[in-house]
């Protein structure tokens, strides 16, 4: 006999007059290898047709389904109920704008972040369709890929103490994005530009370094190393700015 799961789900529809945040409880028979994508879809089909949540790839790849599951921000689609106790508490990610129930607006925040850190290759080089591509060392390509793997799920932001009190903070995802372009030789931003971006309260100064982000990141991004690299780079830049060294 399978277990009966007791799903306590945060409910609130901001478009509905007089609606107040509350918890609804749903009971669900556990089936083998049940994940929260299937579980929530079943609840919607059978018990609560108006339940709002977001899934797209349902394969742990697209970053749509971040939510707080028994206190921990993570991806719902790849969370198996067999790894959870009988009672499952589901809340939307904090920090982001709530759209309804478990659905939050991560897209707008990440677009804004991309604009703020100018998340693109800054280059004067024009693309030449008939020229051979610029060469790159494969080890470096792999290093860039490591940071590029962020799926913008927002779990790190939801788990970050700074972000909760200081909404302008770029968060681990934002700092990681900076780190990604910082090591890309195709990006020709100069030290001053980087410095302006990094050495602010929105940037690395805002970070306490307790690494809750590193702990929750479902894609296991090497955030610790990325931050260390950014700090190191910044120290180098500070010394230069103070006129100490020339390189």
């Amino acid at each position: 006999m399978g277990r009966t799961l007791n799903c306590k789900i945060f409910r609130y529809n901001p478009t509905k007059e007089n609606d107040k945040p509350h918890i609804d409880t749903f009971y669900l028979e556990e089936t083998p290898r049940l994940n929260l994508f299937t579980a929530l879809s079943k609840i919607r089909e059978e018990q609560a047709p108006d339940l709002m949540f977001d899934f797209v790839c349902r394969a742990g790849i697209c970053g749509s389904c971040g939510m707080v599951i028994n206190g921990r921000p993570t991806l719902a689609c790849r969370t198996l109920t067999s790894d959870l106790p009988d009672t499952i508490e589901l809340f939307p990610l904090p920090f982001f704008k709530l759209l309804g129930d478990l659905s939050v607006d991560t897209g707008i925040w990440f677009r804004d972040m991309a604009e703020r850190v100018e998340s693109w290759i800054h280059t004067e080089t024009k693309f030449d369709p008939i020229a051979e591509e610029e060469r790159m060392n494969n080890t470096l390509a792999n290093e860039i890929y490591e940071s590029e793997r962020c799926i913008e799920c927002g779990c790190c932001i939801a788990g970050c103490a700074t972000a909760q009190v200081f909404p302008e903070f770029l968060g681990a995802a934002g700092l990681n994005r900076i780190g990604r372009f910082l090591i890309d030789p195709r990006d020709q931003r100069g030290n001053e530009e980087w410095f302006e971006l990094i050495s602010t309260d929105e940037g690395i100064f805002g970070c306490f370094g307790m690494m809750a982000c590193d702990d929750v990141c479902p894609k296991d991004l090497p955030l610790l190393e990325v931050f260390a690299h950014i700090r190191q780079k910044m120290t180098g830049m500070t010394l230069k700015t103070l006129g100490g060294f020339k390189s």
Binding site: R58, A59, S64, G107, W120, P129, N142, E148
Partner: protein, 643 residues
Amino acid sequence: MKVIATDVLIIGAGLAGERVAIATAKEDLDVIMLSLVPPRRSHSAAAQGGMQASLGNSIMGKGDNPTIHWLDTVRGSDWGCDQEVARIFVDNAPIAMREMAHYGVPWNRVVGGPQDVFIKSKKTRIEEDYEKEGLITARAFGGTAKWRTCYTADGTGHTVLYAMDNMAVQLGIDVHDRMEAMRLIHDNGRCLGAVTRSLRDGEIVVYLSKSTVLATGGYGRLYGISTNAVINEGTGSWLALQTGIVPLANMEAVQFHPTGIVPTDILVTEGCRGDGGTLLDVDEYRFMPDYEPEKQELASRDVVSRRMMEHIKKGKGVKSPYGDHLWLDLRHLGEEHLKTKLREVYDICMYFIGVNPIKELVPVRPTQHYSMGGIRVNKDGHAYGMKGLFAVGEVANWDMHGFNRLGGNSLAETVVAGMIVGKCVAEYTKNTSLKTDVALAETFTQKELDKITQLLNGSGNENVYQLENEIADALHHNVGIFRNGGELDEGVAKLKEVVKRTKNVKVRTSSSGMNPELSSALRIEGKAKQALIIAMGALNRTESRGAHYREDYPARDDANWLNRTLSRWPEGAEEPVFDYELVGVLDLPPGDRGYGGGEQIPMKIDLEEYNNRVDQDQTVKGRLKPVESTGIRLPKEAWKEAE
């Protein structure tokens, strides 16, 4: 009524849509992209294995060129593709890969010197050329003569989409996400915009545009069991079908990928087999070389999927509570390889089914994966019969894939077609003025509002989720990998019934805002009608070609069926109407694919006669005149040198 005007309205913000947005924004046009989800969550992000382009940098791709790529593509399509479009694609794919490198994609690169790789599952030492060190490298994929698939580990769709979206952000292109296009506004064969519904709060918003581009991806989710994202529900092809004018083409051409994992049906990439993974049966015996001695696990997808099902039918499948499956063996690739180049695959196996591919076999079976069919467009991407409407990417039938697309050719298509069609859209838009017919927009909006009222307050009693399941069930059981007249008849009958019942759907909660059940209910008519078109198209086509396999008609019939299915659903009609057009100018005469076996019935007329009829035939079938004349991009018999 809220109305927003723009030059170019792009519906869909996956790779294809974004590439068109970039092409048109660079021409100083006003561009708005709509998407069901934030652009980076589009299904393009989920593509793993890579994209094909004949750069020929890896030693295993040495000597590759667009013509060899073209030959693989035409054979892969089982001669169902438009050979000129395939040519335009292969010629531009190398440029597109390099451009994506310029946008920031961290492509894996050639490492000079000795490398240990697997070729036909045997460990082999190759010597990569030091001269090529640092250029974009490639891996093996199915149905290709060379290693040609460019990749970033197994997160290619992700990195390419992120680089593309970075460019869109840099150009400041507007994205209105969580907006669903519901209906095209059109008049007298010209598209004027779309009626949309916000998935944030349910608001209806009208967009008026000089040109409208559909880039909405595939319809895999109609099958229920699919590797596709849950948003791939064919809403874009429905927009076109709903006009009653624009045809959908080859909807019966549905691809099944050999390696969906069991259970959950999540894809593990063809790169698994490209990198040396093998397929084993219940006795842990490697069966593919027995069926396909030459290509083995790397024949085209339609062939491998059929061989797998054939083997399962012989009783060689592995029994499980989720049905029979086979094994994918990746163990010999080693931990290092699985945790770097196949890392997503490793994660998927570990998280979703608790299988460690370093030590254990992965349960797999063929699973619905790709939609070759779609909105029929000319080679500029312009929809048949509708000025100002374009389609690009998986939703379009541009038709480089015919009846089977090669792995790695679809992701590449999105950026190449985006580039080509983007130019045509820009050109068209610059020569067009905005037509703001508010009264007309109101008529179309009213139709949508009436539909919502009907669903919320009507007297129906059908449950939308129940109907979704019945559609999936009918397609899965009656229009699967192996098809036959009896089962197809039954499928058509079931689906006709479902189409009728969609009129009686009733939404249970009238909750304000986006109301997920209402959103599903609004999509159900389109799903049912397209499912019926798939089934009827498959029933009509009494031959076997590519992914469309008829047990009762196992031969490929070039005498009668070297054509493309066109289906329309005229307004108010009970059933769709079918028509057929010539596939395009043929340069490579129909022949044997070199894998898959099977018999071919030869053409009745000669090649020249066929080719002479193409232009006129397609024009009669609704094709708008392309900017350049038909066949001009197809260098005659260039393939003879490559053979």
